[in-house]
Every structure is written in C-alpha cells, then in structure tokens.
C-alpha cells in the first residue's frame, strides 16, 4: 500500500527555500521568533520583580547577573526583540485597518519597522551606557 501511494507523483507544496526573499516574509518569521524570545524573557521580568520584592540579597544576585557581560547581551537582545516586535506589531494593526497594504507600501513600512527597532535599541542603550559613564 505504501509503495503504491508513493508511485503517484503528486505535486508538492513549495516551501520557504523556493521563494524569493522579501522583507515582509522575513518580518513575519522574525515576528514569531522575537515573540517567542519575549515569552521566554518574561521569566527574567518575573525574576527582577520577585528579587525586588524579596530583599536586598536577592536583588543583588539579580543585579550581578544583569551586570555580567552575558546578562548585558541578553538585555540588549531583549530590548531589540521588544522594540522590533512592537513596531512590527503596529504594522499589523495598520494592515488590519487596510492601511499600507499595497506591495510597495507593505515593503516600506516593514523596512521602517525594522529600522525603528534597531535605532530604538541603539538609542536606549546609548542612554544606559552614558548614564553609567561608559560612553
């Protein structure tokens, strides 16, 4: 039975690798990935708040982890994921209202959201590092 079924050459549905790259396609994938990252990152937000509610020692532990270079990397990544998802999400809200739905407009607002996410992250961390006197 299995052999007979395989003998029929049915058309296969094309998958990701067959399509030309478009920013809207990339944004769709990145929106999911950043969303899942923010989902996992909510545990970090819970950690911060619980540490602040628990006491001085717990808060010091959190601060040490957040201040470590790897912790900083995670926080920068989290900032970018948040801002990218936020601006990318506003784009979806616009499309819901039938705004900027032509292929060209869709591409433009997708690039704008990408740019806003990156520039926002740079701006936030520029302020953070300047407050610390690093730059």
């Amino acid at each position: 039975m299995a052999d007979q079924r395989q003998a029929v050459a049915r058309p296969l549905s094309p998958h990701l690798q067959i399509y030309r790259f478009t920013i809207t396609m990339a944004m769709s994938i990145i929106h999911r990935i950043t969303g899942m990252g923010l989902y996992a990152g909510s545990a970090l937000l819970a950690w911060w708040l619980i540490a602040a509610a628990t006491g001085l020692e717990a808060y010091a532990t959190f601060q040490a982890a957040a201040g470590h270079w790897f912790g900083q990397l995670v926080l920068i990544g989290y900032t970018w994921a948040l801002l990218h998802h936020l601006f990318g999400g506003i784009r979806y809200l616009l499309w819901d209202e039938i705004v900027a739905t032509s292929p060209k407009s869709a591409d433009i607002i997708s690039w704008l959201a990408t740019l806003a996410g990156i520039l926002g992250t740079v701006a936030v961390w520029a302020v953070v590092f300047s407050m610390r006197g690093v730059i």
Binding site: L45, I50, I90, V127, R132
Partner: protein, 139 residues
C-alpha cells in the same frame, strides 16, 4: 449551468461547516474571533505601557535596591505595571498557542504543549503581580 448544485452530502459548494455542525444547524459558535480581537486589543494597550516601562528601566540604570523599590512602590507605576502584566499574559499565551498549533503535530505532545503554555503564562503573570503587589503594599 451553475457549479453550485445542492445535494444531501453537499448542500452548497461554499458551505464550510463540518458535517457535525451542519447536522446541529446552530450556526457558528460566535466565538471564533475572540482570540484574534484579544490579541489586537492587548497589543494596542501594550504600546504605550511598554514604552513607559522601557523608560522606567532605563531610569533605574545603576539604581540601588531602595531606589528601585521606591519607584516600583509608586501607585501609578505599580498600576501601570499590573496593566502591562495582565495584557502581556493574555497576549503571549495566545501568541504561543498559535505557534504550537502551527508546528506541534503529535496529538499528545500538542495537548501537553498547550497546557504547559497556559501554565507558564499564568505562573509568570501571577509571580509578577504578587511581586508588584508586595512591593506596593509594603512601601
């Protein structure tokens, strides 16, 4: 010469109801758009709330324990935090549910993933709410 001819097994070519749904004849459950609308309403709510919180966290850069607690203990900050947590829990639970429904195909693993998603979302949410309330009421 219409292509939509009605028969007992195919009342209408455009009828997308399941056979069971057709037998019941009760129409739609009227709840199919619930998650879709919730996802968007929580998204709109979170735009200003998250921008506020990014600002708050930047402001707390290098702040000591007492400063962080006094900021979080401010009623307006605490209320904004609770609103944000509530919206985020609903939003992230629906979002992850969609991802699981799209990619996790095994029936047992699918059900377990969906349950784990609900548990994680509410556990993270309740933990955050408890912490904010504790700081707020002890400030």
């Amino acid at each position: 010469m219409s292509s939509t001819h009605k028969t007992a097994s195919n009342p209408s070519a455009r009828d997308m109801r399941t056979p069971f749904g057709r037998v019941l004849g009760m129409g739609s459950a009227k709840s199919g758009t619930r998650d879709h609308i919730r996802q968007r309403v929580t998204a709109i709510a979170m735009v200003p709330l998250f921008l506020f919180f990014v600002g708050l966290l930047v402001g707390l850069t290098g702040a000591d324990y007492e400063t962080a607690r006094s900021w979080l203990g401010n009623p307006l900050v605490a209320i904004a935090a609770l609103l944000l947590i509530g919206a985020a829990v609903i939003h992230m639970r629906i979002g992850m549910q969609i991802v699981i429904e799209d990619y996790v195909t095994g029936p047992a693993l699918r059900t377990l993933s969906l349950i784990a998603n609900t548990f994680f979302a509410y556990a993270a949410g309740i933990a955050c709410i408890y912490a904010v309330a504790k700081i707020g009421f002890s400030a």
